[in-house]
């Protein structure tokens, strides 16, 4: 297999490896869909913290099934499979193999990868703080995903939505009593807010 540099994302390669390797025990292994979902949530958290969307390194789209999906993440998953760092079983579960931890340790030496771990880890911690199905509901409840299954595939993270995320951050920080170095608490509050909004809309 050969990789075209233009379509290859090192960040997606790292994220895929990190998520597969660090999926918390109670819910490990992730399915392919879950891996895309938690990568997208990590991306949202970086945007929540004021990072430019463009700096995430790869893009997401909304699939016709209403889940976030990244082509670059999918390519990265194939590359990791070929390098025998992960394998995908018949149930579509993403399993880390023996060489995965060593590769991860090497990549973690690169500062910009290490920086991403904060968002990836918080995304994974959210799966412990609330059931995966609830995380899914929260993310699906967001405006960007609410057209799931209706409008067909389309890119995620529009400028208007990013501006809204920044506004929501201020509201959440104010409710939690100011900026905190711990991202999990505001992340959970943020997701909860979407779940509540989703319920209100459904009612």
């Amino acid at each position: 297999m050969r990789f075209e540099p233009d379509s290859f994302s090192p960040h997606a390669f790292f994220d895929c490896l990190a998520l597969a390797l660090r999926a918390p025990q109670p819910i490990a292994p992730f399915t392919i869909t879950e891996l895309h979902l938690f990568a997208y949530l990590a991306c949202l958290l970086s945007v929540y913290e004021g990072e430019p969307v463009a700096d995430w390194g790869y893009q997401f789209a909304l699939t016709g099934l209403g889940y976030p999906f990244s082509g670059e993440l999918d390519s990265a998953m194939q590359a990791l499979t070929l390098r025998r760092h992960i394998e995908v079983d018949n149930l579509e579960s993403v399993l880390p193999l023996d060489s995965a931890a060593l590769e991860m340790a090497k990549l973690e030496e690169i500062p910009s990868f290490k920086q991403r771990l904060r968002w990836l880890q918080t995304s994974l911690d959210c799966s412990l703080a609330m059931p995966v199905s609830v995380v899914k509901s929260a993310v699906v409840a967001r405006d960007d995903l609410s057209g799931a299954g209706v409008g067909g595939p389309r890119p995620l993270l529009s400028n208007a939505y990013v501006a809204r995320v920044h506004g929501e951050r201020e509201a959440i920080e104010s409710a939690l009593g100011g900026e905190s170095s711990n991202l999990l608490a505001p992340a959970v509050a943020w997701l909860s807010m979407y779940i509540l909004q989703g319920r209100e809309l459904a009612a």
């Binding site: 540099p5 994302s9 090192p10 590359a79 070929l82 390098r83 690169i110």
Partner: protein, 654 residues
């Protein structure tokens, strides 16, 4: 009310801490503690020594010393020097855009039983943001975060501790008396500034300086008003004469036209100045845009390299081994393409030889994984550094945008004013014509009345000026008497210090400025029996060091305790013969319990060696700036030579 018998108590500077001050790239959080009477910051030219002293002064007074300072009154100077735009301009280019909102200076000031630690933002409107006052065991903290008005609280505490009546005078003392900086302002030859300093040192009470300044300014105002009114009266008289000439024979109004031309020229000049400002701001924006484009291109290039390298690492030769067809053929010992059995070991051998099992091509060996990883790390660090630069440029562009718009608004306003003028008064530039003798006679009558009114006004202003002058003379007389008494200690002290440097008999006296419109004092300096009426009659180093001696003597007269002088690379064109003498003078001042905070470069090194000999380790400390800032080649060369000088100074201290 305080009298000179209860002098002011000036603080001693104990410590200076900088935060996010990235002019000092290697040490943006530089910190110095001043424990010994002489503290010297030493380094090559251009490292930011003068900036350090100005920042320290800003920390203490909330105002950046103006290098071209002119002095009219302490209040006027304070208003001008403490404008937040001045600090912002001063630190522009010294502090990076990202650090501008964060950079602070903290100064610890000590009195006998009180310590104040004041922290200020350098580029923010907020000014003082935190103050800690310690009195014995009591510690009180004010901070803007808690909603306190720290600036107000600080100024009140400083005035309470120093006994100085107002903060403008405190600022004056630090900027004009206690600081000899790169502006090389000479207080000896600045009559207004020395008058205020004399009042502070010898005035009959603590309000004398302010009172004398107030009276002096009122007198000046009345004089100026009288002059203006007289000028207006003269213009009216000229107008009358012209009209009379027109009545006699006919003549155009050339004086009125001259005035209009003058206004026209002033407005044209204003338009030109505004246009220049717009051009400058546009050029700055353009430069920032170009820099932005250049760095963006570099980021894209590095990112591309990074992706290629990473892809190379991921997609290298060893991947063949894991290709599903190859893996299946080896593990099943059966070709996955043609289903031939017993070919597994052959395929495995070809893979080990880096040969494609399908087309027999030799796969190029990729560099060792670790080498690629190291290169990836380097590229990653380069990208992060470039991103920081981009962030800085972005902030610069954000700042320049409104500044450019504001300059454009000013230009529009200046152009509109000019157009308005040209459509109105300016239209008369060559249109004023006689309109008949009856009208002219009436005009002459009107102008004559106006002339009488203006004459009376001028007389009233002169009378008022003379009244104020008399009042001021009384205040000045009091000062003169106080000075005469105090000069028994002040003058000998000045002589001692100045003669130590100059090596000739020296004397100083104050002289009251005379004349209907003159006020205040000037100093009369005599060297070796010869009166020196202007600074030009002294060599550069004589001017500098006599002025420093004067500041030393004045500061001792002003304060009841120790005083601290801030001296920036004082040597000027110091003759080698004078270097030992300069060191002696500094030592004498320090021995009296005072403090000197000075900066020095290579040219000051001989002065420092002599001073170090006299002071010894217990009396002097030296801090090198080499570790603070990144050096250019020229600075690095100077630092190499400073190394040798530094060793000599250190040996002299030991």
């Amino acid at each position: 009310m305080t009298t000179v018998d209860q002098p002011f108590k000036l603080p001693v500077i104990r410590a200076v801490r900088l935060s996010d001050f990235d002019l000092y790239k290697k040490q943006p959080n530089a910190e110095v503690t001043i424990e010994k009477p002489v503290f010297c910051l030493i380094g090559a030219n251009g490292l930011g020594k003068s900036t350090f002293l100005s920042t320290l002064n800003f920390g203490i007074t909330g105002a950046i010393p103006d290098p071209d300072r002119t002095f009219r009154s302490a209040n006027e100077y304070r208003v001008e020097a403490s404008k937040s735009t001045r600090a912002k301009d001063y630190f522009s280019g010294r502090i990076s855009e990202t650090k501008r909102p964060l950079a602070t200076v903290t100064v610890e000031l000590a009195w006998e039983s009180t310590t104040i630690v004041i922290t200020r933002y350098l580029c923010s409107e907020d000014g003082a943001c935190r103050m800690e006052i310690t009195r014995g065991k009591d510690v009180e903290v004010l901070s803007t975060e808690s909603g306190d008005d720290v600036e107000k609280g600080y100024q009140m505490e400083v005035l309470r501790e120093t006994n100085i009546p107002n903060f403008a005078q405190f600022t004056f003392l630090f900027h004009f008396v206690l600081t000899f900086d790169e502006g090389r302002h000479l207080i000896m030859w600045d009559d207004r500034a020395i008058t205020t300093a004399l009042y502070l040192a010898f005035g009959s009470d603590d309000a004398a300086a302010a009172e004398a300044e107030k009276l002096g300014r009122s007198m000046e105002r009345e004089s100026s008003r009288a002059r203006n009114v007289r000028f207006a009266a003269k213009a009216v008289k000229d107008k009358i004469k012209q009209l009379e000439r027109i009545l006699e024979g006919g003549e155009s109004d050339s004086a009125g036209e001259a005035e209009l031309i003058e206004r026209f020229e002033a407005m044209t000049k204003a338009v030109q100045n505004a246009a220049n400002m717009v051009r400058n701001k546009a050029a700055e924006r353009e430069a920032a845009d170009l820099q932005w484009a250049d760095i963006s291109a570099s980021v894209t290039d590095k990112q591309m390299q990074y992706r290629q390298l990473f892809a190379e690492r991921v997609g290298g030769v060893n991947v063949i081994e894991y290709h599903p067809a190859v893996r299946s053929s080896i593990s099943q010992d059966c070709c996955a393409v043609c289903q031939t059995h017993g070919v597994g070991s052959g395929i495995e051998e070809r893979v080990l030889r880096s040969e494609c099992p399908l087309c027999a091509s030799i796969i190029t060996q990729q560099p060792e994984g670790n080498q690629i990883l190291e290169r990836l790390k380097d590229l990653d660090a380069e990208i992060l550094e470039l991103r920081k630069e981009l962030e800085n440029i972005l902030l610069l562009r954000q700042r320049l945008g409104p500044e450019h718009s504001s300059a454009e608004d000013s230009l529009l306003a200046a152009r509109t004013a000019l157009e308005f003028f040209l459509e109105g008064d300016g239209n008369k530039l060559s249109l004023e014509k006689p309109q008949g003798s009856a009208w002219l006679n009436q005009e002459v009558g009107n102008f004559s009345k106006e002339y009488d009114r203006l004459n009376k006004q001028a007389k009233d202003h002169r009378k008022k000026r003379d009244e104020i002058h008399n009042e001021l003379r009384q205040v000045e007389k009091n000062l003169r008497e106080r000075y005469d008494r105090a000069s028994e200690t002040f003058v000998p002290r000045f002589r001692q210090l100045a003669e130590q440097f100059i090596g000739l008999p020296i004397d100083v006296d104050i002289e009251q400025r005379t004349g209907a419109e003159a006020a205040g004092f000037r100093l009369k300096l005599t060297i070796d029996g010869q009166l020196r009426l202007s600074a030009e009659r002294l060599s550069e180093s004589q001017r500098f060091f006599v002025d420093i001696a004067l500041r030393m003597a004045l500061s001792e007269s002003i304060t009841g305790g120790a005083s601290s002088l801030l001296i920036d690379t004082p040597e000027g064109s110091l003759d080698i013969a004078y270097e030992a003498r300069a060191g002696q003078m500094f030592d004498t001042f320090a021995r009296a319990g005072n403090y000197i905070l000075m900066t020095a470069n290579l040219r000051s090194s001989e002065l420092l060696v002599n001073l170090a000999h006299l002071r010894g380790k217990a009396g002097m400390s030296i801090v090198r700036m080499t570790e603070w800032a990144e050096l250019t080649d020229v600075q690095a060369a100077e630092e190499v030579r400073l190394d040798k000088a530094f060793k000599v100074i250190s040996d002299a201290l030991a």
